[in-house]
Structures are given as structure tokens and as C-alpha cells.
């Protein structure tokens, strides 16, 4: 049991720096993940620290809203690297991201996630414009909300 835990921990901490660099598209970005107590990792906590591109090492609580979102996605994709779920559902993860970071996240999803299917909910064209298909949901008539669903296959419209 503790062997599997250590293996999981090592796998994710090896992967996370590379994933964070790819997500931020910047070799200067750094991510560290490791146990407080390397002898017996499952007894203590696991620390996570990101150094945003162009910045220096500081506590995670100093990060801005957008920087925290990128750090969170790096961790999520690193966990997937160890234990791949077949699909992700991400509800408005782009809310705190500026357009540059939205572009980076969208191209990471497109280029670096081969065995992963992604379903995102988004209000921003800069994000959902990268999708293969759009599921449009609109409110229909009724006493209470009735959701109507439309499907657009975008792969028909542009040559990928």
C-alpha cells in the first residue's frame, strides 16, 4: 500500500514540471511536487509549488487568479498522466484566464492529450472556438427551465 503511494507520488512529481512548462509554453516555468517527509510520505503532507514564468519562488498564496488556474490544470493533467481517466469535464475553467492563457490551455488540450477526451463548458469564443464539436444549449418554453440541445460538428467546417 505504501509502496503504491510512493510510486504514485514519484510518478506525478516527475511529470509535473514538464507538463507545467508545456502548459505555460515557457521553459522558465517551474513546478515542484514532493512529500514533506520523504522517508514515509504517506504520514505527512505533499507540497506543491509553482513558479510562474518571469517570477521567482514564492508561496502559492501569492499567485494571482489566472496563475492559480494554470497551476491547478498542471496538477490535474499530471494526475491524469499517472492514472488516466478516459475523459475530463471542465466547467468554465477559463473564467479567470486572459486570452493568451486561454490559447495556451486550448492548444495543450488539442496537442498534448492523445488518450484523453475533453468536454469543456465555456462562455468565451477564444476557448470554445478550438473545439471539434459544439453542443449548444438554449432555454425553451415551459413552466420551469426546459433545455434545448443543438449539435454542431465543427470538423466539417475547417480543415484541421
Amino acid at each position: 500500500r505504501s509502496e503504491r503511494f510512493t510510486q504514485c507520488c514519484n510518478h506525478i512529481s516527475d511529470a509535473i514540471d514538464g507538463i507545467y512548462k508545456k502548459l505555460a509554453r515557457n521553459e522558465a516555468a517551474q513546478a515542484y511536487l514532493g512529500p514533506d517527509n520523504p522517508e514515509e510520505p504517506y504520514l505527512d503532507g505533499i507540497n506543491y509549488n509553482c513558479v510562474a514564468p518571469g517570477k521567482r519562488f514564492q508561496p502559492m498564496s501569492n499567485l494571482s487568479g489566472g496563475e492559480k488556474t494554470i497551476a491547478a490544470l498542471a496538477l490535474l493533467f499530471s494526475i491524469h498522466n499517472y492514472q488516466p481517466a478516459p475523459f475530463f469535464v471542465l466547467d468554465e475553467i477559463d473564467a479567470a484566464l486572459d486570452n493568451t492563457n486561454i490559447g495556451k490551455v486550448a492548444s495543450y488540450i488539442r496537442d498534448h492529450t492523445t488518450n484523453l477526451q475533453t468536454i469543456v463548458i465555456s462562455l468565451k469564443e477564444e476557448f470554445y472556438g478550438h473545439a471539434d464539436a459544439l453542443v449548444g444549449i438554449t432555454p425553451g418554453d415551459g413552466d420551469c427551465l426546459v433545455s434545448k440541445v443543438y449539435l454542431f460538428d465543427l470538423t466539417k467546417f475547417y480543415d484541421k
Binding site: C50, L73, Q83, S122, L134, P139, S147
Partner: protein, 158 residues
Amino acid sequence: SFLQYIEMENFKSYRGHVVVGPLKQFTAVIGPNGSGKSNFMDAISFVMGEKTTSLRVKRLSDLIHGSSIGRPVARSCYVTAKFIVNGEYQLEFQRSVIGGSSEYRINGNSVSSSAYLARLEKMGINVKAKNFLVFQGAVENIAMKTPKERTSLFEEIS
């Protein structure tokens, strides 16, 4: 495996029988505020075994269409997830609310909740691992967990 269709029957704001799909490698769900986008995510989370508090309701019966205004249209509702496995055969998971409790089916055969969840886990789907569903407003918290919380997350995954 690949999630191809989600079918809903009287689930939250989806009245009657509604089929969503075929889904692609990268699918985006769009629409105005309050139209039912997060309800669609609740449908996927529900069929994957998520508990009611993560579905923004107090009781399972609140998931039935119309119960938000106290007038449920039916006594039950269900969601079916249709996967294609290795490009060949279809694998269907169905979870329904009947009366006040859940029923589970795999390819149409009724199974226990533990058999259902075990089969999902074999595919890498484990809602307790919180490694594939990111609810609205929750993304930043993933990075801000305490070291102890992270340890228990890794324990669940390994």
C-alpha cells in the same frame, strides 16, 4: 474507451428523452447563463456515480425534471452514458432515480452499485479520486489544497 452519447430522461432541465452526441475528442458546451450547461455536467457526473451534494441538490428526487418548482413531471429519471471501447463494441452505463433511490444497469442488466462503480474504475473512472470532473468555480481550489488534503487525494488515486 470513448464517451459517444449521453442520453437523459427527465433529468433536471432536460424534459422527456434527450440525446446529446455524438461527442468528439474535444467538445465544447456553450449557451447563455441559466440555460442548462452545468445541468448537463451534473448528468455526466450522476451517471459516473457522483453523490447528490456534488450535483447541487439535497435529495435524489430533486434531479427529476420540474422538481425545482415543486412539480416533478415524473416519478423517475435516468441518464445513460454510451461508450465505444477500442473502437468496436458499445458499453452502456445507466443510473436512474426511482422513488428516492438509485438503480444501476450495465448494458441493460441491473447490477449493484458496487459492481457498477467497480466496472467504471476498471476504465479509469473513479469519482472519489476527483481527477476528471472540475465543477464550476472549483478549478483554482485544486492548486490550493493543503498538503494533508493532497496526501489523501494521492491515497485515493494509488
